[in-house]
């Protein structure tokens, strides 16, 4: 559904009872009695899964699968698929400057990107009560998957031209991929750039932020927002670089303190985070989740631009009783605040 997303975001920011916006999609496998491999290979199941989740939880928006293997697979990477975990990449695709030159930019729609775009098209038809965000990997993280994640860190020093060549190619691909999501009716996209969260601020300025910015400039408008996700360790130090991207909102992981982030972000910029998805939602208990939610909200709800979320993608086998507790405790907390006023 077409929406004025700038307005939606501003309303969310000004709301006194903010709904959470967690990265919640894979646990749909439990609601549907299917496996992860089934979910990632079928657009109908993806749309149905997103719909089931919106029926169950009162989230600010619906977010599609954070599957950071789809784009790399298109470029020829080897994918490891398992029954209960999100798929991942093994090995490098590009091992030299010559191979970087020869690397072809795949057509959008090939491999599983076609399924994921269709999934969004179908989800948008089913979900009308809230915005639908598609998901994709960020440019440095994708380049890292193609060059191998440790190797790319050496290459940034030894052969920056190889890294930049790959970055240019993946950025071109990601822009086309994002446009396809936009055409399919998504209201925005969540770009995950975790690998850049290990870089120093100055390296992030060279190898990640300008490329993400290029994607934002090509995609973002009143009706389509870019959310930037980074669950790396060094996002606080790199905030200036990250904010230069110009995304509509920013999403950070549980490796950093949300309060530290909020203290350094302008109050009209929405910031989301950061309940530990593995420690709490996958392995915690409803009680421990409630305690974590309350602690985070007590610390951060005073910042009008804070929206509670998970620190990263919520793992497929996370307990639904924990996810329900996350939403319930957030609602209770804000309700109590409203009653007090």
């Amino acid at each position: 559904m077409n929406r004025n997303m700038k307005k939606w975001l501003e309303e969310l920011r000004q709301s006194k009872t903010k709904k959470p916006l967690p990265v919640l999609s894979f646990p749909a496998v439990q609601l549907m009695g299917i496996s992860v491999p089934e979910l990632i290979s079928d657009s109908d199941l993806q749309a149905e899964g997103m719909k089931r989740i919106t029926d169950r939880v009162n989230s600010a928006a619906s977010v599609s699968l954070m599957d950071l293997s789809v784009e790399a697979e298109c470029f020829g990477a080897n994918i490891v698929i398992s029954d209960n975990e999100v798929p991942t990449v093994k090995g490098a695709v590009v091992t030299s400057f010559e191979e970087a030159e020869a690397l072809e930019i795949p057509a959008v729609g090939t491999c599983r990107t076609g399924i994921y775009i269709d999934g969004i098209r179908k989800a948008v038809e089913k979900i009308s009560d809230r915005p639908v965000f598609a998901g994709m990997i960020g440019p440095y993280s994708l380049a890292g998957r193609l060059l191998e994640v440790t190797e790319i860190m050496f290459l940034c020093y030894d052969e920056p031209e190889t890294v930049q060549l790959v970055l240019n190619k993946v950025t071109e691909f990601l822009i086309a991929y994002g446009k396809a999501y936009k055409e399919a009716g998504a209201n925005g996209i969540l770009i995950a750039e975790p690998l850049a969260g290990l870089l120093s601020p100055s390296m992030m300025d060279v190898f990640s932020s300008p490329y993400v910015k290029r994607i934002v400039d090509a995609l973002q408008d009143e009706n389509f927002l870019v959310l930037y996700h980074n669950c790396g360790n060094n996002t606080v130090q790199s905030l200036d670089s990250i904010l230069s991207i110009g995304a509509a909102a920013y999403h950070f992981g549980n490796a950093v303190s949300m309060k530290d982030v909020l203290n350094r972000v302008p109050e009209n910029t929405v910031v989301m985070g950061n309940i530990d998805p593995a420690g709490e939602l996958r392995h915690g208990t409803p009680d421990s989740v409630r305690t974590a939610v309350r602690k985070l909200l007590e610390e951060c709800s005073g910042y009008s631009n804070f929206v509670i979320s998970s620190g990263c993608d919520i793992p497929p086998m996370s307990k639904w009783e924990n996810i329900d507790a996350f939403f319930d405790e957030t609602a209770k907390f804000y309700q109590e605040g409203v009653l007090k006023q």
Binding site: V80, V149, A278
Partner: protein
């Protein structure tokens, strides 16, 4: 080698980041490789052998690679088994290559239990008394290390390397 200690401290304090530590560790290891034949000629030799890998189901390996390079930097030999390594592989490598230490890395809570399997497999293979098991990775804790009966946990690569040297000295 003293330089590497400075790097370790700066990394802990967030003054330098993963790529810088990797580059520094590589420089140090290349330097050490040049010196090795000279030191060997004087009778000094590598004081231990470690096999290291990320456990089965887990493909995160940046931390493991850092630990590996730092241990090498201390003059120990390291056999890198890569990622997604099944317990049997750690055990057979330790036996065949005479390793004093098995190093296990895990970044996923769901793959941490594999560490326990390695400890059990080491017992079953009868090597537990002479092979030490070190574990690490962001979600791993000292409490978990105690619980599964591994020998050493450290929160970062510089301390992992120091501990590895210490263990080899004791053995």
């Amino acid at each position: 080698m003293a330089g590497m200690n400075v790097v370790g401290v700066k990394f802990k304090n967030n003054e330098i980041f993963v790529p810088e530590v990797l580059v520094a560790a590589r420089a140090m290891n290349q330097g050490a490789a040049l010196l090795k034949p000279l030191l060997a000629a004087e009778g000094a030799k590598a004081s231990g052998r470690v096999c290291i890998g990320t456990v089965k189901g887990d493909l995160h390996d940046i931390g493991k690679n850092l630990v590996k390079m730092m241990i090498e930097g201390k003059g120990l030999e390291v056999i890198d088994l890569g990622t997604d390594v099944p317990p049997e592989k750690f055990i057979s490598t330790a036996i065949e290559q005479n390793c004093q230490i098995i190093g296990l890395s895990a970044l996923l809570t769901t793959t941490m239990p594999v560490m326990r399997e390695v400890v059990e497999a080491a017992k079953a293979a009868g090597i537990r008394d002479h092979v030490k098991i070190m574990i690490g990775g962001a979600p791993v804790t000292q409490a978990f290390c105690d619980e599964i009966g591994a020998d050493v946990y450290t929160p970062d690569a510089p301390s992992a390397a120091e501990k590895a040297v210490e263990l080899c000295r004791q053995l």
